[in-house]
């Protein structure tokens, strides 16, 4: 098996969870890379929607570095502005939201606004919701990418930016007035999570080869649902790594990033 980096594993896993003949609303970075990989492999009829206003572009100028990048508008089928693509999403045209964040809780709610829970004087201020809050509300299924660390998989968010299942009650999303069905997958380099249908709590689906479910639980601050049939995560093949490194992100803008705070 080839050596791969954490970012490559996340991108590859992200690609695996995307189905063909769907529309994925992508954020900058790993979501774009995952969707490009899926298009080049098992999902040639997967299309991307970008929040600055483009639907189904052809990324022949290379990977967009921004969701408003000229490259993300290149040869699109439809190119308008933010209102148009978010309204398509409200209407039900976007199957997947593909977002990141700073913290996630057991019900798949995500924080990307502040750290420290004083809104007027936070300890850290992040950029804010951006598209994520609207994507998590109204794309049909939400996929979240997150680094697997205790300080990120938390019991309580400092700020709930992107809606998941809220407090876990069956009508939380309905009372919130949102349209999508909610969290679907959470992707890290060491584990893939889904959500339990009964309780809406985060459930371990797969772990990286060589790791045990208890290793994953140790990196998570809340109690995971760990079913008896946890699988091994598939690892990227040589060909997958070639696509990621040589075709999709040859400059290493995202895949060669050094992890730091």
């Amino acid at each position: 098996m080839s050596e791969y980096t954490p970012f490559e594993m996340i991108a590859y896993t992200g690609s695996r969870v995307l189905e063909d003949e769907k529309i994925v609303f992508v954020g900058t970075g790993l979501p774009i890379i995952a969707a490009m990989h899926a298009q080049l492999t098992h999902a040639p009829n997967l299309y991307m929607i970008y929040e600055a206003g483009s639907l189904a572009p052809i990324l022949e100028m290379g990977m967009p570095l921004s969701v408003g990048d000229t490259r993300a508008a290149r040869k699109a089928c439809f190119l308008k502005g933010l209102c148009a693509v978010f309204e398509l999403t409200q209407r039900g045209y976007a199957d997947y939201a593909f977002i990141g964040g700073a913290q996630i809780d057991m019900y798949g709610n995500v924080c990307s606004t502040i750290e420290g829970n004083n809104y007027n004087k936070p300890r850290v201020r992040f950029p804010g919701s951006g598209g994520a809050g609207a994507m998590a509300a109204n794309c049909e299924k939400t996929i979240v990418i997150m680094a697997l660390e205790k300080r990120r998989f938390v019991k309580k968010l400092d700020f709930l930016t992107s809606i998941g299942f809220g407090d876990g009650s069956p009508d939380y999303r309905e009372k919130a007035g949102v349209m999508g069905s909610g969290p679907y997958r959470v992707i890290t380099n060491q584990a893939l999570f889904g959500f339990d249908e009964e309780t809406r709590r985060m459930k371990l689906l797969e772990v990286r080869p060589g790791l045990e479910p208890k290793d994953i639980q140790e990196l998570v601050d809340f109690e995971l649902i760990i079913p008896p049939d946890v699988k091994e995560m598939a690892e990227p093949t040589k060909e997958d790594l070639r696509l990621l490194r040589e075709v999709i992100d040859p400059e290493g803008y995202f895949l060669k990033r050094v992890i730091k705070e």
Binding site: D69, T70, A73, G130, G133, A176
Partner: protein, 352 residues
């Protein structure tokens, strides 16, 4: 803002915040309407200079609506001139932006008597791949600016509601998140379906600033690439200052009127300013200058980490105060850089 109807956010929220009493952070819908009907709607030549436009429209205490999206078609030339002129107690409104609010924030840090930001209604402030916005982080964590958070759709559709002449618009996001508690939207029960639905108030900037691909001398504008929220901001604002890469003949506009994204009555001042979005990108003309954005961002980050303003001051002295016009700035950037960015755009097809 919590109304009698709400989601179950209170069951989840861990947030400390102060309840805001509702007010519009710019002209009310009635005020905005009145200003619009009292203007001349003649087809007249709107061409002017950045100096004149900014001197005429940018006043203390205004709500400044900023066009573009992150690093795309951001109205940097107008921002430079606003900083040269100076303006205090700004309310900023935008969906996602990078260098425009950072430049204003840096000017505030260097001299709050010249430029100051009082509050910001926004969705996102950062540089995407290049990193977080250091000066947003500095101002917010020090409690120096008031924030009002929405999603990118929320801010965009607030401009759209204003552009539609309606006071609010129902949306399917914000509910069930802490934005429901802190921002000025409100949950109601839909009178038709009986279900909860979130309302966001219209956002009318006093002055909107946008950069477009091409416009005729009256301000009829074409935009290629992502429209971002520029048409909505221009129409929503009580006054709009527009820079354009190129002035084109009115006969061209009239030959293909479907291509006009911003109609002339929405524009008060028009300036032909090639590279007016630099170091941001303008589809069909130039890509963004990652090196310049990185350089400015690292200067800002150095200030955030050390408190030392020297490098920041040097940037402003060199690139803003040391320039009479935006062309002077572009001359310092240099032909070779601009040529490279033009090539990186790849000649996207535009109709001008």
């Amino acid at each position: 803002m919590l109304s009698s109807v709400s989601s179950k956010i209170k069951n989840v929220s861990n947030l400390q915040y102060e309840e805001k009493k509702f007010e519009f952070w710019g002209p009310t819908p009635d005020e905005a309407r009145k200003i619009m009907v009292n203007k001349s709607h003649a087809l007249k030549d709107k061409r002017t200079t950045l100096k004149e436009a900014v001197a005429k429209h940018i006043k203390d205490g205004i709500n400044l609506g900023i066009g573009g999206f992150v690093n795309t078609r951001v109205p940097v030339a107008i921002i430079h001139e606003i900083i040269r002129k100076g303006v205090r107690d700004l309310t900023l409104s935008f969906q996602s932006n990078s260098i425009c609010p950072e430049l204003l924030a840096g000017a505030m840090i260097l001299d709050p008597d010249r430029v100051s930001i009082k509050r910001v209604e926004l969705s996102w402030w950062g540089y995407e791949i290049i990193g977080i916005a250091p000066l947003l982080r500095y101002l917010a964590t020090n409690g120096m600016i008031e924030m009002d958070d929405y999603t990118n759709y929320g801010m965009s559709v607030r401009f759209k509601a204003a552009a539609m002449g309606i006071p609010f618009i129902p949306v399917r996001d914000h509910g069930g998140t802490d934005m429901e508690l802190v921002n000025r939207g409100m949950m109601i029960q839909c009178p038709f379906t009986g279900r909860n639905v979130y309302l966001v108030p219209a956002c009318h900037p006093d002055v909107g600033i946008v950069h477009v691909t091409a416009a005729d001398m009256y301000g009829n504008a074409r935009i290629f690439g992502a429209l971002c929220t520029c048409p909505e901001i221009a129409v929503a604002s009580t006054y709009t200052i527009m820079t354009t890469e190129k002035i084109i003949p009115t006969e061209t506009i009239r030959a293909y009127p479907n291509l006009t994204e911003i109609p002339y009555p929405a524009v008060d001042a028009l300036i032909e300013q090639p590279y007016g979005g630099y170091p941001g990108a303008c589809y069909g003309n130039y890509w963004f200058d990652m090196d310049h954005l990185r350089m400015f961002r690292s200067i800002c980050d150095e200030f955030r980490k050390t408190g030392n303003k020297d490098a920041l001051k040097k940037y402003y002295d060199e690139y803003i105060f040391g320039c009479e016009t935006f062309d002077d700035f572009l001359e310092k950037v240099g032909y070779k850089t601009l040529k490279k960015l033009k090539n990186l755009d790849g000649g996207q097809p535009i109709i001008v």
